[in-house]
Symmetry: C2
Subunit: 380 residues, 2 copies
DNA sequence: TCCGCAGATGACAACGCTGTCAAAGGAGGT
DNA sequence: ACCTCCTTTGACAGCGTTGTCATCTGCGGA
C-alpha cells in the first residue's frame, strides 16, 4: 500500500473544505450505499427505511413501496456490523469442529449451513484441531468477539467455564461428544456399538477385536462400554489383548492388524471404533489379503460399499446430527428451555458383507437373535 | 439481564438525571466486559486501552502492563462488530463454495481456515449449491452485509457485475474455476487432462472415452480441450460416441459405462473428468466386473488406492489450491497488484494401476514417449 | 529562565443502525 | 367544536470501537 498521491477526483469521499472531518461525504458516488442514502432517495427518514428493512408493521404500503424501490435501485444491503453492535448479538452462528478436512465434520457443518441460511444466519467456522487452548481461543473469539447468535461445537476440553458469562445470552450446543451442562447432540454410541458386536456374537465370533481405543474421546469410551456390555451378556471373557490403542495420537494400523491376527488365539472379527480406524484397517486387511476377516466400522465412509466385500458400517449420519444441532440451537434462541440434556440421534447398521462373515463357533450358536437394545431418548 | 439498579459511581459518563434509559448499567455485573470496563479497572482512558489492544507504539510500558493485566482479569475480548463498523471492514473473510459436503471443497476451506487463523481472521462459509441467484445472495451478504476483509469463491455465474462496487475495497479471489477480471486459482485442467490421455495413447489405446462432459463447468471444457489436443496430436479421429454427457444434471453412470463398453468399436480406456464421475464409473465397473478397463480419474478420492486395481488419478490437491487462494487474497490486501490473472496450481498423475492397463494397439506402438506437455505458468 | 519538542494520555466525534419517545394527521365519538 | 385514539412518521441517542486533535508532563538547549 504505497502512499498513493491523493487523487481526489473519482473518489468523492474526500472534500477539501472542512479542515477537520476529512471524510464528510458527498451524495454517494461509489461509496457503499447506507441507510441514509436509501432514506434520501425515497424521501423518508432513516427510521422508516429501518422499519421497512425489518418488516415492521406500521408503514404505509405506498411508503414501503417507495423505500423498497430505492433499496433495489441502490443495491442497499444492511450493515450487519452496525446491527449487531446495536443489538448486542449478530447475524451469524459459530461452529467449532475438529477439522473441516474430516468429511464427517464437513458434512455436519454443511447441514448446519443449509439450515442457517433459511433463518438468514451466516456461519462462522473454526477448527479446534483437538487442542483445548485453540478451542478456547476460537470459542471466545466467536462468542465474545463476533457476538454470534449461537454456537455449535464439538467439545474438546471436558469443561468450558470460560463460556459461562455468555451462556445467558448465547445458546450453546455440543455435537458428537456430549458435555454435562450443555445441550449435546450425539448418537447412541453405546447402543450402536453393542448392536454391531452383538451381530458378531450371533454369527459365532468369540474373538472380537476393538480396533483403536483412542483414550481422548468420550465417544470411544461409550462404544467400548457397548462392546463390553455385549461380551458380558454373551459370557465371553474380556481380553485386553484384543484392544488396540492409539498412543500419542498415532497407531500403525497395518502392524496392529497383523498383531491381532497373529495372536495365539487370533481375532476373527473387528469392530473399528471410528471411521479413520476403519479406513486404516480396511486398507491393511486388503494389503495383507485378509478380506475374509469379519469387520464392522463405526461411521460410514465413501467406498465402503464398493470394496469387496463391502464394509458393514454403523451409519452415523452427519447431516442428521448437524440438523438436530441447529434445530436445537434455534429452539434455544426462542427460550432457554429447562435443563440442558442429551439429544440422541439414531444410527443404523448397514449390512454390506464384511459384518456378516461367520465366526468359527457359528455351527454351535443357537441363533441368540435377541440383541440387546439401548434406546435412550429421542431425537430433536 | 434484568434491570440492574442504577449504580452510577465510578462510571462518570452517565448522569442520573434522565429517568428514561431503563438499562443504565452499573459497574459490570455479569455483563460482557467492554473497553470501558478495562479502562476503569486499569485507571486509564479507553483510548489507551485501545492503543494497547492494537499494539500501537506510544504507550508507557508500565501503563501497558496495567492495561494488559486488567484485560486478562476481566477476560476482555474486543467487539469485532464495533471494530468493523468503525473501520468499514471486518475481521473475517468470506468463502463461497459449491457445497461443504463435497470433500474437495471442505478440504479447500480447511486450508483457508488454517491460514486465516494465523492472520487473526475468521472464516464465514456459505454454499452456492451451484445456483447463480444463491451465489449472488451469499456474496452480497458477505461483502456488503458482513463487510468481510476478502472473499474466496468458486464462481458459478460467468460474470459478477454486482461485485464491482466492492472490488475497490474488498479483494476477491476465484478458485477452482477461473473468471476474467478476477484473480483465479485453478489447476492446469487442460494440461493435466492431456497428460492422462497421452498416457492412454502411449499404452496403445485408441478408443478413449471422455466420461461425463458436464456442460455447466468451464473446467470440464478445458479438460475436454486437453483430451482433444492429444487425440489430434496422435492422429486419432474424435468420436462423439465416446463422450458421455450429463444432461439435466444427472447421468446414469452404470448404463453409460455399459453403453461405452458395448459399442461396436468399444471404449478401452476411460478418462473420468471429475471425482463424482470417477466414483460412479468405478462403482459401475466393479459391478459389471470390468476392472480390466483402463481408467484415469481427474481428482483424487479416498479409497482410490485401496480398490483393485487402484484407481490412477490426477491429483488435484485442495489444500494446495486453498493455500494459494488465501495467500493470493492476503497479498491483494496489501496492494491490489496490477491486473488480475490466473494462478495455476500443479497437478500430478498418481499411478495406481487402473491407468497403466495396456490397450489393444500396445504391440504396434513404438513407445511414443514424447508426451505433449502444457506447462503454463507458475504457482502462487 | 523560557521555549520547543517529544512522549504519553485523554476528550470527543463518528461508524450505521435500531429503540424510545414524540409529533403530526385523520377518524370517530360526544 | 373538542377530545381521544390510532396510524404513520421522524428526531435523537447510543451500541463499542478507533481516528483526530488537544493536553499535559518532562527534558534539553538557547
Amino acid at each position: 500500500m504505497t502512499t498513493l498521491s491523493k487523487e481526489v477526483g473519482e473518489d468523492a469521499r474526500y472534500d477539501p473544505e472542512p479542515a477537520h472531518h476529512p471524510d464528510r461525504r458527498g451524495p454517494l458516488m461509489n461509496r457503499r450505499p447506507g441507510i441514509k442514502d436509501v432514506a434520501a432517495s425515497a424521501g423518508v427518514s432513516i427510521k422508516t427505511v429501518s422499519r421497512v428493512v425489518n418488516a415492521e408493521e406500521a408503514v404505509h404500503p405506498e411508503t414501503r413501496a417507495r423505500v423498497l424501490h430505492a433499496i433495489q435501485q441502490l443495491g442497499y444491503v444492511p450493515n450487519t456490523a452496525a446491527r449487531s453492535l446495536k443489538s448486542g448479538t449478530g447475524g451469524a452462528i459459530g461452529v467449532v469442529i475438529d477439522s473441516l478436512a474430516d468429511p464427517f465434520f464437513a458434512a455436519l457443518v454443511s447441514a448446519i449451513e443449509t439450515r442457517a441460511l433459511t433463518e438468514g444466519l451466516s456461519v462462522l467456522v473454526a477448527s479446534s484441531s483437538l487442542d483445548r487452548d485453540r478451542e478456547r481461543e476460537q470459542l471466545l473469539s466467536l462468542v465474545a468477539g463476533h457476538q454470534v447468535a449461537g454456537v455449535v461445537f464439538a467439545p474438546v476440553a471436558s469443561e468450558h467455564p470460560y463460556l459461562a458469562p455468555y451462556r445467558t445470552t448465547t445458546p450453546v450446543v455440543a455435537v458428537d461428544r456430549s458435555r454435562v451442562g450443555i445441550d449435546s447432540v450425539v448418537v447412541d454410541d453405546r447402543g450402536a456399538a453393542a448392536l454391531a458386536v452383538q451381530q458378531f456374537v450371533d454369527l459365532g465370533h468369540r474373538r472380537i477385536a476393538f480396533f483403536d481405543r483412542d483414550e481422548r474421546f468420550s465417544t470411544i469410551h461409550r462404544r467400548m462400554s457397548g462392546y463390553l456390555d455385549v461380551l458380558r451378556g454373551a459370557g465371553i471373557e474380556f481380553d485386553p489383548e484384543l484392544v488396540s490403542s492409539t498412543v500419542d495420537g498415532s497407531l500403525d494400523y497395518l502392524s496392529e492388524a497383523e498383531r491381532l491376527l497373529g495372536l495365539e488365539n487370533p481375532a476373527t472379527a473387528f469392530f473399528a471404533s471410528n471411521a479413520k480406524a476403519a479406513i486404516g484397517l480396511t486398507t491393511a486387511l486388503h494389503r495383507i489379503h485378509r478380506q475374509d476377516t469379519a469387520m464392522i466400522a463405526f461411521g460410514d465412509f465413501s467406498f465402503a460399499d464398493v470394496l469387496r466385500p463391502g464394509v458393514s458400517c454403523i451409519d452415523q449420519d452427519p447431516f442428521l446430527i448437524g440438523n438436530a444441532a441447529i434445530e436445537r440451537l434455534l429452539a434455544l434462541r426462542e427460550e432457554s428451555s429447562g435443563e440442558p440434556r442429551e439429544w440422541i440421534v439414531p444410527t443404523a447398521l448397514l449390512q454390506r458383507g464384511s459384518g456378516e462373515i461367520e465366526g468359527p463357533a457359528a455351527a454351535l450358536s443357537v441363533g441368540s437373535a435377541a440383541s440387546a437394545r439401548f434406546a435412550e431418548g429421542d431425537v430433536a
